[in-house]
Amino acid sequence: MNRAGGATRATPWLFLAPALLLLGAFALVPMLRAARWSFTGADLLDVGGARWIGAANYSDLLTDPRFRRAFFNTALFALMVVPAQAALAFFLALWVNRPEPHWRWLRTVFFVPVVVSMPVLAVLWTMLYQPLRGDQMGLVNALVAGLGLPAQDWLQNPRLALPAIAFMSVWQGVGFQMMIFLAGLQNLSKDQLEAAQIDGANAGQRLRHVIVPAMRSSIAFVLTATLILSFRLFVQPYLMTRGGPADSTVSLIQFVYETTFLGRELGRACAGAMLFLLLVAGLTLLQRLFAREVRS
């Protein structure tokens, strides 16, 4: 916009001021303070008395079995959720992508768990995963038993707890990724598809040679977004398992939380937070590079 619109040099900054102020105060300042505290022995209850201890927090975290476990669990969770959710969302999108308005309800169905908030679903699935006891049982075990399989103590078994949480998380979030794929599909030109059809390509070939290449940016977005979201794992283990059994569901954010509020070790928690941020930044960068590679 030029000066004819009455804009002066200050105008853009007036427009930006509220956003910059809030982002500065509530995103940049906390981040910088966390970075500084991460090199101190700051105590939650006595932040002022913190001493500079160099990288001691970092070296301690990297050798702490619980932090490593939290890291491993979070990565494992992402590894379970991201491919499953993206693939399921993609096929659901292909399936519900029908022009007739009377099929619209199907999209709503898959989106409903997204609307129901995560704490509610964490509470609900804790009940669904209830083990069998007499004629009392959770729905999951009722279904499993109905299929003639042995009932499981899903959230109390160190091998099953994280997969069980991953399963409910995929179910919860798949509708959102489906919507994004749906948007991508609707931007796909009809001509491309029809041309492919006339060429006699079958469904598999159409998918590989027409749909997937055309959806590249949607796919990249969904993978990145799901990855970052899955790294934020907190509510499910916090409410469903408290990180147990045998530390099998403790997550990075949960580690930071308990280090702060149970251990009072603010400096150490901030070091954990900084490592987490580095990780997320690194993953995003990697994904960007990868996406660029694919595109060229």
Binding site: P12, V123, L139
Partner: protein
Amino acid sequence: MKRALGWLAAGAIALGFLLPLLWMLHASFRPEAEVFTGGFRGLFSFRGLGLDNYAAAWRRAALGIGLLNSILQVAGILGLGLLFNSMAAFALARFEFAGRRLLFGLVLVLIILPVEVLAVPLLLTVRDLGLTGGYGRTLAALVLPFAVKAFNVYFLRQHFLALPRDLEEAAVVDGAGPFRIYWSVALPAIRPALATVLVLDVLTHWSDFIWPLIVCTRAETRTVQLALANLFTQPPIQWGDILACAVLVTLPVLLVFRLAQRHVVASDLGAGIK
């Protein structure tokens, strides 16, 4: 015939997908002692259904005040966010100024910043700004840090960029200043994008957990999710009450989604991504 089969398959899959939520709804009306009885067949038991759980949940979880708090929180974030995010987005889309590229880069970086992990430094910052303690302060602490969202700025900027310039230029000829153009021309033109942002914000913040958990220390500042978590962890554990509370927490956001659904077109979501 084939079509009927298609419908049948779709119906079955949809039913299976929603089964957990249907179970929640049904069990929330069952008597406390029977919530888990009967396994799968329990789903078809209609004996003794009633509203007792709802009455108890409403009272024990103090849901009245919880709902009010959550509504104020989300409304505050939506209101301030709508204004501040779109203003920033408009500036980034329409003005040439030194540092624009840098600022835009910053926005892109902040999109991936997971707020949860910085919750504690944020708490101490909020404290130093005097936003802890009383009811009004706590509410401000719930709203202000999340009103401006990098993703929303980015998303709205993309939509402003996609607007044809003719309209705005016509307004300039009419003598409109930049704020008039933003408010009366550009903003109304991206209404679907605004609706999308609003709905996403409602979904995100209605389910906020870790930040309210930290900042809402007192019973009267609790949001709905905390009220539910409290019911879920404080003995005596009453499963029926918990389920009824879960349903009550879900209803408002479901309602909002139902009302807003037709304004949010999937393709808008896509436009911001590229």
